[in-house]
């Protein structure tokens, strides 16, 4: 598609921007920690937009004061899954929110094949649309 050159996955914050540098990631995490949110690192190789539950890389990190500890985990995760999508989430546990307040991608595969739109004809010439990630044609661990 011409509207999304390179088929870059656009999920979460900042996903239409060029990839964040480590300094920018650190600054974002610093903001999250200042708000008292628990930051966690997650990864997946199935980028379908409805795949909301990614795999956790370790536990969410509570009571941290400084982004260095989270950067350590991000870099560990990048080392373990260099060709996966990795995102950082900040969870707000305060009453009334109890939900992720931030979520942004910090690592993506070198080549993103993107999504295809498939049409299914059903009764009465009705058409059902579905989004299909080309990456998931291959079995897990061979996708990227």
């Amino acid at each position: 598609m011409m509207t999304n050159p390179g088929n870059r996955l656009t999920q979460g914050q900042f996903s239409f921007l060029p990839d964040l540098t480590d300094e920018q990631i650190t600054a974002q995490i610093k903001y999250a920690l200042k708000q008292g949110w628990a930051v966690s690192v997650e990864y997946t190789d199935d980028p379908h937009p409805r795949n909301t539950y990614w795999d956790m890389f370790g536990m969410p990190m509570f009571d941290l004061k400084d982004p260095a500890g989270i950067m350590l985990e991000i870099n560990n995760c990048r080392k373990t899954f260099p060709r996966h999508y990795i995102r950082v989430m900040a969870f707000d546990a305060s009453k009334g929110w109890e939900t992720p307040r931030m979520s942004f991608i910090v690592n993506r595969p070198p080549k993103e094949p993107g999504f295809g739109l498939s049409r299914q004809e059903t009764g009465g010439r009705q058409i059902r649309y579905t989004v299909h990630s080309y990456a998931t044609d291959k079995p897990e661990s061979e996708r990227y």
Binding site: G58, M59, M61, D63, L64, K65, D66, P67, A68, G69, I70, L72, E73
Partner: protein
């Protein structure tokens, strides 16, 4: 690029000079050092050592302005001394000093012991240690009684794993974390002997001397003043007599024993006031600790240390 050029030329001509005094004032370290002097009685060698470390860091920062690169100095420390000599308190101040100088970003102190680092089963230790380390990043990690991490008599002890993770972090994340190990002198020496890697990564060994009786008396006055109490003149004499007696007895933990003694004196004071029910009390009555509150101690009566009010708290 420009800065390096001017730096080299200025070094050659000696034009630009930095003001060490101004830098010192800007860092507000003097306030911390003054506070240290005011609130901590005695501990001369410790204070001198902290002043030295602060001077080193300040000069190091000035050198950076001239682009005289030197590696980030190793800041990991070991505090050795008997219980109640102020190791935790000094560590707190150290965190503040390092924060003012910009060597740690947040300046908080995480105090842990073996239990917080070492797990109970295989594979439990590494995540536990890492979690603590991550919490301490940007600040100071204070490991009390660090020698318990290493138990040579049990070769399957998980403490070794915690030590290895610590060593790795101490080397690779020097900018993020300062580790302070604390404990009794002789046990720490043995610990370092069996862990040469640990020894070589620690730059500053600070030894905390025991307090003299006069210093303990000054500490007692300070502690009482903090809690809005004071000794009557007779009580002051009685407590001055109490200290050397208590020092002779077992389980003497310097300032911590003094604090416990004062807590018990407060208890007796409250009891005494309560017993004299029909008397109107002035503000001064509520603040004054009388001689009888102190002389009722078991130290005077059967020459044995009082039972502690509570289990002695960690740190003082």
């Amino acid at each position: 690029m420009d800065t390096t050029k001017t730096d080299t030329s200025s070094r050659a001509t000696g034009e630009v000079k930095v003001d060490l005094d101004a830098e010192f004032r800007d860092s507000h370290i003097q306030e911390v050092l003054d506070k240290l002097d005011r609130e901590l009685i005695g501990l001369k060698p410790v204070k001198t050592r902290i002043r030295e470390i602060a001077a080193l860091l300040l000069v190091d920062r000035l050198r950076k302005k001239f682009a005289l690169t030197s590696q980030t100095p190793t800041l990991h420390m070991s505090f050795t001394g008997n219980p109640g000599t102020g190791k935790t308190t000094v560590a707190l101040r150290m965190a503040e000093i390092l924060h003012r100088l910009g060597y740690v970003r947040e300046g908080h102190l995480i105090a842990v012991t073996r239990d917080d680092l070492v797990g109970q089963y295989i594979g439990h230790t590494a995540p536990k240690t890492k979690e603590v380390i991550k919490k301490a990043m940007g600040g100071v990690l204070f490991i009390d009684e660090a020698y318990y991490l290493y138990k040579p008599e049990n070769e399957r002890d998980y403490g070794q794993e915690a030590i290895e993770i610590l060593l790795q972090i101490m080397e690779n994340n020097r900018d993020d974390l300062v580790v302070i190990l604390a404990g009794y002198k002789d046990k720490m020496d043995k610990f370092f002997q069996s862990n040469p890697g640990m020894r070589s990564r620690i730059a500053h060994h600070v030894d905390f001397p025991d307090y003299q009786a006069t210093e303990l008396m000054a500490i007692a006055d300070l502690m009482l003043a903090e809690q809005n109490y004071h000794f009557s003149p007779a009580a002051h004499r009685a407590f001055a007599e109490y200290i050397p007696r208590r020092m002779q007895l077992g389980h003497f933990a310097n300032a911590r024993s003094i604090r416990n003694a004062l807590d018990r004196a407060r208890l007796r004071q409250a009891n005494r006031l309560f017993a004299a029910k029909n008397k109107m009390l002035s503000k001064d009555d509520l603040m004054t600790i009388e001689a009888e509150d102190i002389l009722a101690s078991r130290v005077f009566i059967d020459n044995a240390p009082d039972d502690d009010l509570q289990a002695p708290a960690r740190g003082s």
